[in-house]
């Protein structure tokens, strides 16, 4: 690194970076002659080593000067003192050039200003390669060579790095590009990933994001999901080890969901949207490859569920009549945030006839009571995903989020006698000690959570059932997205 730093240190005085292909650079060659007479001057040229003819330029052939000094426009004029950049200006602007160089009367025949051209070091065709050439030394991961005769997709299956679907090969170029999605350093520790309790870096998360098919702008969401899932509160270790069919379900909200094109409308819980499909998958690839959580090993699920490949969706927070799940958990409205929930697959509630909130609340309650088992209560949370047409029934009647939950919960109380083991001819149920309880709710306080997503048509809601809740199992964890 030290050698690279020295070789890219700028000489003291005035430094100008140009390229032959740029008309503005041609028009300022006379100004460069003026500067060469007045002050110590070094000119770097990006493309043609013979340009300008005078004063002679140094060819930045590998663009290392341009890349290391973030040259985005040519010409760029930089004043350097003791090897340190003091100030710069880009394009041709007489007043700025005179201020930065300290030389007056520059370019009297030129117009007052002329915009510059794009630097070759930010050329979209070159930038990924340059980022690898000069920046990849920040990557600490082992480089795995793929043999000429080897199919890299098959090789990743063979090594056990995939979730059963093909993954995008995490090349240096792709990982460097992914890392542009965050301001965090590649070596930053994000979380300690169960079950092997391995400290995971931003770089390893970026590798998983590449493999999952993410774009760089999804990376902050993936990083936040990893942080939210890998702690004792959420208990990712328990989610793996349990025989129940749960995995991390990620519920996103905030304006950032629209910036990255997440789907909160039709088929929000289904396939077809890149962000929805890949953010949750990236989290699961981190758990698999970094944490070592694999089916048949620590993952002991009896059945699992298809969402364990990755389950992530956005709430339609701009149209939600009752706010967001993140807001319910204390995040300010308008802040990008996500909640991880230990959830199974979805279960549809059909009620196409209720137009009164009381009737719809009863329908929803009847379905929610059956979650995992009608006679097992208080042990499991649930997320209720209401679509626009069900939510409207409540909104038209003026019911708030709290009123909806309370209205549904009213119909989720059962006497202990109905719930104990053996009652109703079913061995499953609560211990006999609860037999005298006059009324037991299905959900603990806060255990029934509302979200709003789905397409315009359909008088349906979806239930996402949870796992052992609270201190003995998993608590939903909500985090603001860190960029």
């Amino acid at each position: 690194m030290a050698a690279t730093d020295r070789s890219t240190t700028l000489p003291d005085g005035i430094v100008v970076v140009v390229k032959e292909e740029c008309a503005t650079c041609h028009s300022v060659t006379s100004v460069l002659m003026q500067l060469a007479d007045a002050t110590p001057l070094t000119v770097f040229t990006q493309d043609d080593p013979r340009f300008p003819a005078e004063p002679a330029a140094i060819h930045d052939a590998d663009l290392s000067i341009s890349w290391h000094h973030d040259i985005e426009t040519v010409p760029t004029v930089i004043r350097v003192v003791d090897g340190i950049e003091v100030e710069r200006t880009v394009g041709w602007h007489r007043d700025e050039w005179e201020r930065v160089t300290g030389v007056g009367g520059l370019g009297p025949d030129l117009p007052k200003m002329r915009p510059g051209c794009g630097s070759m070091s930010v050329d979209p065709d070159l930038v990924d390669e340059l980022n690898v050439r000069f920046g990849a030394s920040v990557l600490g991961s082992r480089r795995v060579a793929v043999a000429d005769a080897e199919d890299e997709m098959e090789m990743m299956f063979t090594r056990g790095w995939t979730d059963g679907l093909p993954v995008v090969p995490p090349t240096e170029q792709r990982v460097m590009r992914m890392l542009t999605g965050t301001s965090r350093a590649p070596s930053d520790i994000v979380a300690t990933v169960p079950p092997d309790l391995v400290d995971v870096t931003v770089e390893k998360v970026a590798i998983a994001a590449v493999m999952a098919g993410c774009l760089p702008e999804y990376l902050p969401w993936v990083l936040t999901a990893v942080e939210a899932a890998c702690n004792s509160e959420f208990n990712m270790h328990g989610l793996l080890a349990t025989t129940m069919p749960v995995g991390p379900v990620i519920v996103c909200s905030g304006p950032g969901t629209r910036r990255i094109g997440m789907n909160s409308g039709g088929n929000a819980l289904g396939q077809g949207n890149r962000a929805n499909s890949t953010i949750g998958r990236a989290l699961q690839l981190v758990v698999r490859n970094v944490g070592g959580g694999r089916p048949g090993e620590v993952d002991r699920a009896t059945h699992g569920n298809p969402g364990k490949v990755g389950f992530c969706f956005a709430e339609n927070d701009t149209e939600s009549p009752y706010g967001t799940l993140a807001a319910e958990h204390g995040i300010e409205p308008g802040v990008d945030a996500l909640t991880v929930f230990a959830g199974e697959g979805t279960r549809c509630v059909v009620d196409q006839l209720s137009r009164e909130p009381e009737s719809l609340a009863r329908s929803l309650a009847a379905n929610l009571q059956a979650l995992h088992h009608p006679k097992l209560v208080l042990g499991f949370d649930a997320i209720l995903v209401m679509g626009p047409e069900h939510a409207r029934v409540f909104a038209d009647a003026g019911w708030s989020r709290e009123q909806i939950v309370a209205g549904i919960s009213t119909h989720l109380n059962r006497s202990g006698a109905e719930l104990v083991r053996g009652a109703d001819g079913m061995a499953e149920g609560l211990p006999e000690a609860f037999a005298d309880a006059p009324s037991l709710p299905k959900f603990r306080a806060g255990g029934l959570m509302l979200t709003y997503a789905g397409g315009g048509a359909g008088l349906f809601s979806e239930i996402i059932g949870g796992w052992a809740n609270g201190d003995i199992g998993s608590k939903p964890v909500t985090r603001a997205v860190t960029y």
Partner: protein
């Protein structure tokens, strides 16, 4: 290095940890006078199984100490694991459902 060759190198997505292999202790010839820890993971009816085990172990002359995890869903707390390791020569963890 050309682009073509660079694309044939990928980054290791794993933790790159080498798994530490630990040698198991030799099986004791007898349990007489040995302290055996019984760890209840807090699954329902695990205590039934462990109560019976305790009877059997005491019957063959072992000393028995009982421990319990706060919840079956999470790994045993590090302090509990340490306590068992210093108090017992043998440990039995009950998985019951």
């Amino acid at each position: 290095m050309t682009t073509a060759t660079r694309s044939r190198t990928i980054l290791d997505p794993t933790s790159e940890r080498t798994v530490a292999e630990r040698q198991r202790l030799a099986r004791p010839a007898s349990l007489r006078g040995v302290t055996v820890g019984l760890l209840d993971i807090s699954k329902p009816r695990g205590d039934v199984f462990l109560d019976r085990l305790e009877e059997r172990l005491v019957g063959v002359g072992a000393n028995v100490k009982r421990y319990r995890k706060p919840t079956f869903t999470k790994p045993a707390p590090v302090d509990l694991r340490h306590q068992i390791s210093v108090e017992c020569q043998v440990v039995i963890e009950a998985l019951a459902d």
